[in-house]
Symmetry: C2
Subunit: 375 residues, 2 copies
């Protein structure tokens, strides 16, 4: 692929925040522009899931460009539900690769905590197949079906699965931007209330506000975009060929690895979509980072811990860093850039040259895999 480089990154604190969406997007954007040493990008691409319903504002791309003081910079918005941030990154990279821009600011975020939780759940449920929605399906309910099938297929106990949020909270406790910065125990997880059997509160990501940004350029910089891939699948869970793996991730990974000219063995650090924490194991298997049914071993052996062979979700993941839906896909990429550059502070993994981010849209109907490399 043509040379596309990440020149700068930025990310706000995630959590229940006072600032409105535009201010969050601008904070992340200014950080990324400053980090890049680029003042005037040729293009702005905004990733948000549903600002119209979360905040009441539409045409976010020009609204944000105006707010940033760059009203005359071309701008558009990309949306793929909860993976919108990664989609925006792809669209901006495409524009650069196609020669339509030299530099692009990608900014992604969401403001969710202004609404009551039932209304947030209603908005999120628009990602569910309409027929399944009519039968009363919610995102956690569908995730619970997947978790149950996966746990049964591979003989996993609730104690095994509880180690995922424990690990991710341990990482989040070292991330000053994380929504949750406190460690938790297996007992905390198993003692938390059921959300959708078998998923408990501490196995489900929080509702968060926040934004992330990257600046992309065609000029050589230390971190380059090595591969990108997207995979789609039936929105309706009942039409999937499997409940214990996500074809959308497998296809996205196949494309991203092919573009990068490398395979899963080359990945040294990964951010994966753990909005429902058991998905971390499914994602690792779909990405080829573990064999089917074997991801739990890597978890139990500590291989995916910060100091392990293949740290997964060093940021704390969606579970601990938080999940402002549009932001997450891009925040993962920002974390990988920090890790590759050795700028991740007390959650820094050992020196790494290749990292991967995997983002899920909906209940795994529109997923993205992005591979970054430090030359």
């Amino acid at each position: 692929m043509p040379g596309i480089y990440v020149a700068g990154v930025g990310c706000t604190r995630f959590g229940r925040l006072e600032a409105p969406l535009l201010a969050l997007l601008a904070e992340a954007a200014q950080q990324a522009l400053t980090d890049a040493g680029i003042e005037e990008p040729d293009l702005i691409v905004v990733g948000t899931m549903n600002p119209e319903e979360f905040t009441g504002d539409g045409t976010l791309a020009p609204l944000f460009a105006s707010f940033l003081g760059r009203a005359h910079t071309p701008a558009f918005r990309v949306e793929t539900g909860t993976s919108s941030g990664a989609a925006a990154f792809f669209a901006a990279a495409s524009a650069i690769a196609g020669g339509f821009a030299r530099t692009a600011l990608v900014v992604a975020g969401e403001k969710m905590t202004g609404l009551a939780t039932p209304r947030v759940a209603e908005i999120l449920s628009r990602m569910i197949d309409p027929t399944e929605r009519r039968y009363g399906a919610t995102m956690p309910a569908l995730a619970a079906i997947v978790t149950r099938a996966y746990a049964r297929a591979h003989h996993l106990d609730p104690e095994d699965l509880a180690l995922i949020p424990v690990k991710n909270h341990r990482n989040g406790a070292r991330n000053p931007l994380a929504h949750f910065q406190a460690e938790i125990t297996v007992e905390d997880v198993l003692g938390s209330r059921l959300i959708a059997d078998p998923l408990r509160l501490y196995e489900v990501c929080p509702i968060s506000d926040g934004a992330a940004a990257t600046v992309l350029t065609a000029e050589r910089r230390p971190v380059r975009v090595a591969g990108m891939g997207q995979g789609s699948d039936h929105v309706a869970l009942r039409h999937r060929r499997s409940l214990t793996s996500f074809r959308a991730t497998q296809e996205a990974a196949r494309r991203a690895y092919a573009m990068a000219g490398l395979g899963p063995k080359a990945i040294q650090v990964a951010e994966v979509h753990d909005a429902f924490t058991p998905f971390e194991l499914i994602n690792m298997e779909d990405l080829g980072l573990a064999e089917a049914g074997k991801a739990v071993r890597a978890l139990l052996n500590g291989e995916t811990a910060l100091e392990g062979r293949l740290p997964v979700n060093p940021s704390g993941g969606l579970k601990a860093r938080g999940h402002p839906v549009g932001a997450s896909g891009l925040a993962q990429i920002v974390e990988i850039v920090w890790q590759l550059r050795g700028q991740a502070g007390s959650r820094q993994v050992r020196e790494s040259r290749v990292g991967l981010a995997q983002s899920i849209g909906g209940l795994s109907s529109v997923n993205w895999v992005t591979i970054l490399a430090r030359d």
Copy 2:
């Protein structure tokens, strides 16, 4: 720019339709795929403005891909308000130009008539600057301010402006896909009720359902994408440098002409955004198709009629063909392709090799210009 070709096009009837959004999108898509002789595009890009609020469905990209029977084709959605269809076309063309896809299906549409008009107006108002919205601004009210300023600056009478919808209805009467297929008179326009002084009902586009589609490919075909450009401006009208021209169109046109290596004189047929019909004149001037204040002369002289020197809105425009918001930017491109191919039936203009489509997002805050050429 790299060679990108329009291999196929499709468009549904526009109007108050029974079919749901997904069926409309699929109808247009199947037409375009059949027209292209391409069964399996590498990528699907969906342009919609706000399906979440208009229909209740989200993550439209995988939802549509599933509905089309192509659940495993990579897909994402692009949004720039009322110009989303043109934005989706750009994003798909970028992916091809960047080498990330060989063929792409672009599909754009909206289903608006399922809601009562006040609710539609509320959803559309999300494109207005939040402060101006709080002061009670609506889209027609802001368009009326622009119309008043433009008419005063150039000494235009209501009778002059009324000729625009008369012309566009005359064209629409020859378009079997148009929402309105009846001619109207100047008296009809001037006798219709005031919507926002000085704009009358027949100077404002209808609320419509519909969808359009194109198939893009890197393989040589008769119609190629010669140039594309985007321009942005302050969302807030009070921050604009002019009320009688749209900088967003001027910038988009400048970029598209530069990419195409040609100027306004080369344009032989144009589709421009006449959601509020006086904007047709402003658009012509911003596109360089007429000098400032002189577009009305071309209208009065019949130069922009079907049989004129430079036919504008041969389809009937947004006024007569209708304006399913997400669809319009792409439907314009489809019309230009039909005109360049000589397939426009009784509204066919004289043989043309270069055509232009101009789409406005919001109240001209995020506009696109697309130039197509037949080699």
